[in-house]
């Protein structure tokens, strides 16, 4: 297949499994292998429902450990205290009036209107079409505006040189990082590591828009809430039981 290659065609062609060779003006041949992986679309929106009534403290610890194991954070040796990355953490909330205490896992809430994206000067902080909020570390200059802007304290800055990163999760000094909803797994049709670590229905992961998905159906039935609903961020992570 010989044809003039332009960016639009290149993007369009990704639907068909073809290998094409295009000759561009300077005589250099560009070989393009379009794959059958389509770009993600906004027909889906990934989300999670955390039911604190079904989660024990050790479930939450398991979630944190699974995230560390999957994404390779948490063994930084030179970072101290608040410098240490934390993509997901266990937090305790107490109702001052009733004294009721809840433990919940807290990570990036994958906001529909993410303040971290609004403030980023380089476009590094970004939201995918399917609602997953990420940091493009290629563009991140480490200014940390997004850390200031995030109401959930979900982002961390890497303070030290790293090595032996996970193959699927590049991380490095001078850039900001946060929960990616295990985007590398989601793209393979798997669920995030934290959700998998809990065997009960404590964490349900799925497509919020799909009327047949478990998360959509559960949200229709039970009482759930976003944390800091007042900010109107329309988070992808929802909680029930608090």
């Amino acid at each position: 297949m010989n044809k003039e290659l332009n960016r639009r065609d290149f993007l369009k062609n990704t639907t068909a499994v073809t290998a094409g060779v295009a000759t561009i003006a300077s005589g250099i041949t560009l070989t393009t292998f379009a794959a059958n992986d389509n770009p993600v679309t906004n027909e889906k929106r990934w989300g999670m429902l955390v039911d604190t009534n079904k989660l024990t403290e050790s479930n939450i610890n398991d979630m944190v450990n699974a995230c560390q194991e999957e994404n390779g954070w948490g063994s930084e040796i030179h970072s101290t205290g608040h410098q240490k990355p934390s993509w997901i953490k266990k937090i305790k909330v107490k109702d001052k009036v009733t004294g009721k205490i809840d433990m919940l896992p807290m990570m990036c809430q994958h906001c529909e209107h993410p303040p971290c994206v609004d403030v980023c000067p380089t476009n590094a902080s970004m939201k995918r079409e399917d609602g997953i909020v990420l940091v493009d570390k290629h563009l991140c200059i480490g200014c940390r505006y997004c850390m200031m802007a995030c109401p959930y304290d979900a982002r961390s800055f890497v303070h030290e040189d790293l090595s032996n990163q996970k193959e699927h999760m590049p991380r490095g000094k001078g850039t900001v990082e946060s929960c990616t909803m295990c985007v590398h797994r989601v793209d393979k049709g798997e669920m995030p590591a934290c959700a998998e670590a809990v065997s009960s229905n404590g964490v349900i992961f799925g497509d919020l828009y799909d009327a047949n998905s478990k998360i959509n159906q559960t949200l229709k039935k039970i009482q759930s809430t976003q944390i800091r609903t007042d900010l109107n961020l329309n988070t992808g992570v929802r909680y029930s039981g608090i």
């Binding site: 090595s163 990163q165 991380r171 490095g172």
Partner: protein, 126 residues
């Protein structure tokens, strides 16, 4: 004087072409594939991949990160998988001096920063 110049030029060219013909450290898997005669299936043109690999990688990185298109072609992971070498049953980081990436980049004085974030050896363990 002119003879000297010609000899000098001849020597310079042979060394350039000698360098162009083979890479000092191709990496284990890539050497295997080359010996099996399969390397042209992966890189149809040597000149192209040498000249264009930064563009290929850049294009691929945006598609993967921003659009979730995950293919093997032009993926940095696959570069590392094929072009890493082992020493004493352990992978040597691909950005170490004299390894695949560094040999050329050192020669042309390019300092690049892929590997402060990306893993420098193939997948966990051998």
């Amino acid at each position: 004087m002119r003879h000297l110049l010609i000899i000098f030029l001849a020597l310079a060219f042979t060394s350039v072409f000698a360098h162009a013909d083979k890479h000092v450290n191709l990496g284990d898997r890539a050497t295997e594939l080359k010996d099996e005669g399969k390397s042209r299936d992966i890189h149809p043109s040597l000149a192209e991949i040498r000249k264009m690999h930064p563009e290929f990688l850049l294009h691929k990185r945006d598609k993967t990160l921003r659009q979730g298109v995950r293919t093997q072609r032009d993926s940095l992971k696959e570069c590392v998988n094929c072009h890493s070498s082992t020493k004493n049953d352990e992978y040597v980081p691909i950005n170490a001096p004299d390894q695949f990436c560094s040999t050329c980049h050192q020669k042309v004085g390019t300092s690049l920063d892929c590997f402060s974030c990306h893993r420098t050896t193939p997948k966990e363990g051998l």
